[in-house]
Symmetry: C2
Subunit: 191 residues, 2 copies
Amino acid sequence: MTHISIIGTGNMGQAISAIAAKGDNSVELFGKTDLDKPVTGDIVVLAVPYPAVDQVLAQRAGQLDDKIVVDITNPLNFETYDSLTVPADSSAAAEIAAKLPRSRVVKAFNTTFAGTLAEGTVGPLTTTVLIAGDDADAKAALAGVVTAAGLKAVDAGSLHRAREMEAVGFLQISLAANEKLPWSGGFGVVN
Amino acid sequence: MTHISIIGTGNMGQAISAIAAKGDNSVELFGKTDLDKPVTGDIVVLAVPYPAVDQVLAQRAGQLDDKIVVDITNPLNFETYDSLTVPADSSAAAEIAAKLPRSRVVKAFNTTFAGTLAEGTVGPLTTTVLIAGDDADAKAALAGVVTAAGLKAVDAGSLHRAREMEAVGFLQISLAANEKLPWSGGFGVVN
């Protein structure tokens, strides 16, 4: 049984909670008023917008040590929708990993909209969660959670690939915001 | 009727030729031995690997003026499969556009494998060609060619979005090279 803590109660946090609850896991969801409750999950999902991550890391200092920390963010400039707010050769995941040297950071869930995560499908396809990270065991643990819920998981490579995954997320959000794609659709993976 | 010139006879050049030939277009395919034949298409597709583009631009100096030039490249470092060879905040398309100030450069076809272009499907989905560029008429002209062949076209935004499209292409190639995806599959678009 995996103990999973999810920080953030927005639509992504709720969708990931529902996925985690489908498997043989214990799931705790942390909202903004749960600051006194320590994070104890083996897997901790940072399901907050990228600008809120630093505050969460400060609030949870030490609590993320030795844990698998899942970054789901798409660090868009939401004023222009024309760039990311992280350095072009880096990624939100790399920035977070640098701040959490005692954690195993993986990137996941940023290439799927909340709707397709909750549905388990993207059109005719089973929703696929791409997972990038430098620790094979951490990626396998998260993949186990995803597949137990009936979704597919694909190992996207090292944490370097978070740069490309965030570009996928950025492009997909840009297309949906411009009504070129529905929020119920987007990129699916045929494998 | 659109006159389309395709430079490059590899699997991508052939797949794009077949697509163009399905509509009411005239299509000319240029191989390495066709240097004496001038490029005359309204739309010119640079269907060569990124490292070969500069040579093509030199060989075709002046011939691409006033034309719609389609960049399909994925500028991977094919030795490491771990990075792109263009600056992280730029794209192959932006580099090419800077060298062709008299052309209207669009990015397209780099997020679909040759197999799914030729088939017209990615698994259960119709193959979708993402098209980015700064000239709406140029994008519409290429979209017309794509949709006349029974594929879908999606306007991916300005040429800035080529950075993200190249990240999509990079990630997709990386996944296929690592056998996480088949070359007959990959990313599909549900819209």
